[in-house]
Symmetry: C2
Subunit: 332 residues, 2 copies
């Protein structure tokens, strides 16, 4: 196996977030499930947008956020995902490239606009997401660059890709290429409803195709259809090589064979916007893993990155994460 | 004169801000004058954008920011300015309408994209702006709705409009209609270099066509080509009905005939991003004036709104300004 040119290559939906604050009533009045993601059509997107308050736009997308985080930790990272040639597409491409992530997926000219996610942030900082996938659905197996996959220590995939058949095929193509090259594959389960839609596929991956699994509490209990976190943790221990389970302010649990690492969450003054917490946790964790650090330290880096991103609006880091980790003496 | 349907109608360039942090060297390396605005071409915009770090997008535009602030104070406000039918145009139209500002200028189909301003924020919170005017230059006298102007207590115009002949004609049309309807006209001088480009026009307006003048220290000294603020304040006292002079952390001075009101700035923990400080000061001042409050109180409302907007990224208020003013017992 040759030396790796990249620490991580991330594959996911390329999305611009449109972020507005709302009250709790807005969610219930518009049949939104608080804290989760729902897929919406173009016309639903227009309807919801018209009801939203003043917003701001920032690049998002789950795996893309993770890539931005890895770059902020000083890691070498690449991203694969598709935008259109419109203004939001240019915003997405600019933001990910400008933080140092290699990104050269050609933009789509099929007529669909760049994906956008209408993010509603309630006063408690929780985010509820409505995603119009647009041009990101144009990602297919032909976009997976085998040389790139082989050149990265870890291929990181978001579960959201399973929501479209072509993207799912791209996912499988990338995982197969990574394994063939002797590389690791990491998967984020993305969202409890997403798990619900694709449970059989995800279980098969956990049992065979994936080396590192990321899930939060609702996702892992949904995967195994169990009521308690402890039972789900026990189930995943028997099946996954490394399982990284995040639990918001309760921190995270890293499971590998008989080992268990409980990692506390980093305290924040106020949760301003929880968008990107899981994505940035994964960025920290993978930044540690690609540096061959102990799993507990990987978790500490995850907690640090998650705390940074929830302390401000938007799902991309505002501070340099490598500097933060050095200040806390987790990295040198 | 009939009752007014609007407190203020604002006319200005309809712009989406693209905001990124940078260090001081970035400004000097790219020949940008710190704290000022320069006009750039489409290709310069592409070049600067490519050099910028990760950014976020928010609606901006000087007079539009002021309108958003007046709406946040609970005022009835309308805005006239032109976007294109692209994604940034939809962002602009959404944000201003969703805060309650009446906005129905038809979007341009002339092929130019919506105006954008590349805002670089240095560590001290100062902002340096690079504006590609795009579709906002399509604003002309035919866009000035005489009924709307006659229905507003105050027509508020940004000096930036003078940078394009058609917009300048729209400016004069609006001012003439307001005066004919017995309404007041307010002008912001916008930027010291803008004053430099249009000094004769602005002096003529101050001497005749304008009732309320807003200027910061560099703008008013540029207008009269005087070195000291005190001399410039003396010059404008002799010519303007009401002159509102802002001086950043030194507060503001309101001059009307022989009256002078010195108003302190509201303290902020940290200047995060100075973008919109002058625009929001004007929003507070006009919100007081249209409620027939004393000039000193108008200035207090200006200080309050400016302090809110510089304490976060972006030029639009994040908190409800009416609530803030009630909490401070300036409004009831």
């Amino acid at each position: 196996m040759s030396a790796s040119r990249f620490d991580v290559v991330g594959i996911g939906n390329a999305i611009v977030d449109i972020i507005a604050r709302c009250d709790e009533a807005f969610l219930s009045n518009n049949a939104m499930e608080k804290g989760f993601m729902q897929l919406i059509t173009a016309s639903q997107a227009d309807d919801i947008y018209a009801l939203m308050g003043p917003a701001q736009e920032q690049s998002g997308g789950s795996a893309a956020n993770t890539c931005a985080g890895i770059a902020s930790f000083g890691g070498a990272c690449a991203f694969i995902g598709r935008v259109a040639g419109d203004q939001f597409g240019k915003v997405f491409a600019h933001d990910i490239a400008s933080i140092g992530v290699a990104y050269d997926t050609p933009s789509s000219d099929a007529g669909l606009p760049t994906a956008r996610c209408l993010v509603l942030v309630t006063p408690d900082g929780e985010r509820t997401m409505n995603t119009f996938l647009g041009a990101s659905t144009e990602l297919g197996p032909e976009d997976i660059d085998g040389d790139l996959i082989a050149a990265a220590q870890i291929t990181y995939l978001e579960g959201y890709l399973f929501d479209r058949p072509e993207a799912k095929a791209a996912f499988h193509e990338a995982a197969a290429l990574a394994r063939a090259a002797g590389r690791k594959v990491a998967l984020s389960l993305s969202d409890a409803f997403c798990v619900d839609r694709h449970r059989a596929d995800f279980l098969e991956l956990v049992r065979g195709g994936v080396d590192i699994l990321f899930a939060n509490e609702t996702e892992i209990t949904s995967l195994y259809q169990l009521n308690s976190f402890e039972d789900a943790a026990g189930a995943v221990r028997a099946e996954a090589e490394i399982a990284v389970l995040t639990r918001s302010e309760q921190g995270s649990m890293i499971i590998s064979g008989n080992d268990t690492h409980d990692v506390p969450a980093d305290s924040v003054e106020q949760v301003v916007d929880a968008t990107g917490a899981g994505d940035l946790y994964a960025a920290g964790f993978l930044s540690g893993l690609t540096r061959s650090l102990p799993l507990g330290t990987c978790g500490q880096l995850g907690s640090l990155a998650a705390a940074e991103v929830i302390s401000h609006i938007g799902a991309r880091p505002e501070k340099n994460l490598l500097e933060l980790a050095k200040n806390k003496a987790i990295l040198t």
